[in-house]
């Protein structure tokens, strides 16, 4: 195998590792890091309702096929719950899978909820790419961060 191909493989591995690392970060149980108090087993965690609060009345959120497109696209695999949020904060839009989801499924659901909220509140999904940038040196750290960033819209504690 030529050296460039080896380097390319290593870079892809580092990028993949970055994405995986971000996915695992939310399960870290160190004091002072985001989720240190969580005691859920992985299956319970995967089955939880995931929710965003949207500054609209529940009636303005929609149901079924009228839900914002990213959420409606998940179809019958997810159940959706819309309830009023306390204190004039709008509506709590929650969803969870009917079956046991994979990590990829959960990323898709997080992204869909965030995009649905943006579509309802702002009318469009904010895009950052392509952002102007200079030369990206091919470093392991850069590849790890690229992987983490690529998944960041679908990761997090949601």
């Amino acid at each position: 195998m030529a050296v460039p191909r080896i380097l390319d493989s290593l870079r892809r591995a580092a990028t993949e590792a970055g994405g995986a690392l971000l996915g695992r970060l939310q399960h870290v149980r160190l004091p002072g890091v985001g989720q240190s108090s969580s005691a859920d087993d992985p299956e319970t965690a995967a089955r939880r309702w995931r929710a965003v609060t949207v500054l609209r009345s529940p009636e303005q959120i929609g149901t079924g096929a009228d839900l914002p497109a990213p959420l409606a696209a998940l179809g019958d695999r997810v159940e959706v719950r819309v309830t009023p949020a306390p204190g004039d904060r709008g509506a709590e839009l929650a969803a969870r899978y009917r079956d046991l989801p994979s990590d990829d499924d959960l990323r898709a659901l997080r992204s869909a909820l965030r995009e649905a909220k943006q579509l309802i509140e702002v009318g469009e999904v904010l895009r950052v790419d392509p952002a102007p940038h200079g030369t990206r040196k091919a470093t392991p750290q850069g590849a790890v961060l690229e992987g983490a960033t690529a998944r960041a819209g679908g990761e997090g504690v949601l």
Partner: protein, 391 residues
């Protein structure tokens, strides 16, 4: 276009990068006239916030001329001379309606990183790493400004570019600290750090009615600016016991409001300085909090401490006992600038807020590496380096 980019720890280059384009309906493209270094950039430069990629465009404090508008933009027009807040906020979510703009739910496209670190994600910031959204920064000939109707403010005719630039972040951050710390007429206010933000926090406190304002630093040229341009008292912590001095000038009470405008790379003297440096370099703490510690210890009972300096994660030897037993209110935030910029521009137009003195080093964008070097080293009396991307 030409842009100043982060290329590695303490390395800045100026290179040719693609022009920005409108990607969302609420965007404008700005031709950048002035853009400045900020102390918080140094945390990125030094690798203390490890979410920068080589090639990222730096800069978050800027102004310029609108040259292109998205079809959803209602209030901004081509040709408008605007100053833009450093944080990107939608104006529509609950946080924005509460005027907590830096907490916008819809400004950071990479929430997975900051949620994992902090439990929730704040909004996005121009040129401030992929953790804060991966937005290209302002040290460039052009910049894309999302949600432009919310974050870009037309500069009144009587306010010069030299003055208006700092409404973008230094003044709005300082004003927020003084305001949200609850500064009221008659208060004694102490500010840690005499950089751009600290000086403007002090000036804001005076405009909000504080009776006496003290600013703490060690750099003679910055302390001189505090006296000459801000009109506050200056305390040199390298020559004075700050806690004793503040007790003495407040009748033993301590300041009513303490504003920290230093951040995670705080310089301090003696054992504390060495301790924090060693622990940070060994990654046993991410941030050096000496100014916050001192602010908490200095503050009067029942007083208020506001953390304006940027911190990333965890600190050691935090005086929680003093905070609790003295009944302090401690608050912090990235800048909710959209809340304050109209008022700030009015003060600037009336000559009550002057900022020109902060721009000690003005230079072409091509000199950005030198500009950051002199700014980081605090050499040649540098308070801020300002770049002129379009001459």
């Amino acid at each position: 276009m030409r842009a100043a980019t982060w290329t590695g720890v303490n390395e800045v280059s100026v290179e040719t990068v693609p022009d920005p384009t409108i990607l969302n309906d609420h965007d404008v493209i700005l031709k950048v006239s002035r853009t400045t270094t900020c102390g918080s950039d140094l945390h990125l430069l030094g690798g203390y916030i490890p979410f920068m990629r080589a090639g990222d465009v730096l800069g978050h404090e800027f102004m310029g001329e609108v040259v292109e508008v998205g079809r959803g933009v209602r209030d901004r027009r081509i040709g408008d001379r605007v100053v833009v807040n450093s944080f990107i906020a939608c104006g529509k979510c609950w946080y924005c309606t509460q005027e907590l703009y830096s907490l916008c739910d819809n400004g950071n496209p990479n929430p997975g990183i900051t949620e994992a670190l902090w439990g929730q994600s704040p909004g996005g910031c121009f040129g401030y790493s992929h953790a804060m959204g991966g937005w290209a920064g302002s040290h460039a000939e052009y910049i894309r400004v999302p949600y432009a109707d919310v974050g870009a403010f037309v500069v009144p005719e009587g306010v010069s570019d030299e003055r208006a630039l700092f409404a973008s972040d230094a003044v709005s951050t300082g004003w927020m600290g003084a305001d949200l710390a609850g500064t009221k007429p008659g208060d004694v206010v102490a500010v840690w750090g005499a950089g751009g933000v600290g000086q403007m926090a002090a000036r804001a406190a005076m405009l909000l009615g504080a009776e006496r304002v003290y600013v703490i630093d060690r750099l003679p040229e910055r302390l001189a600016q505090v006296r000459e341009h801000v009109g506050a008292e200056a305390i040199d912590y390298s020559r004075t016991d700050v806690l004793a001095e503040l007790r003495e000038v407040t009748g033993g009470r301590g300041p009513d409001v303490c504003i920290e405008a230093v951040g995670m790379e705080a310089h301090s003297l003696g054992v504390q300085g060495a301790y924090d440096q060693v622990k940070q370099q060994l990654r046993l703490q991410t941030d050096r909090p000496s100014a916050v510690r001192e602010a908490i210890l200095a503050c009067r009972k029942g007083g208020s401490v506001f953390v304006l300096g940027v911190y990333a994660q965890m600190v050691d030897k935090f005086p929680l006992g003093a905070l609790m037993n003295k009944g302090l209110t401690v608050r912090g935030a990235q800048v909710h600038g959209q809340r304050y910029m109209p008022r700030i521009l009015d003060h600037m137009a009336r000559g009550e807020l002057t900022t020109e003195h902060l721009a000690t080093h003005v230079m072409p964008l091509e000199d950005a590496a030198r500009g950051y070097r002199v700014f980081k080293d605090k050499a040649d009396g540098c308070v801020r380096s300002v770049f002129l991307p379009n001459g």
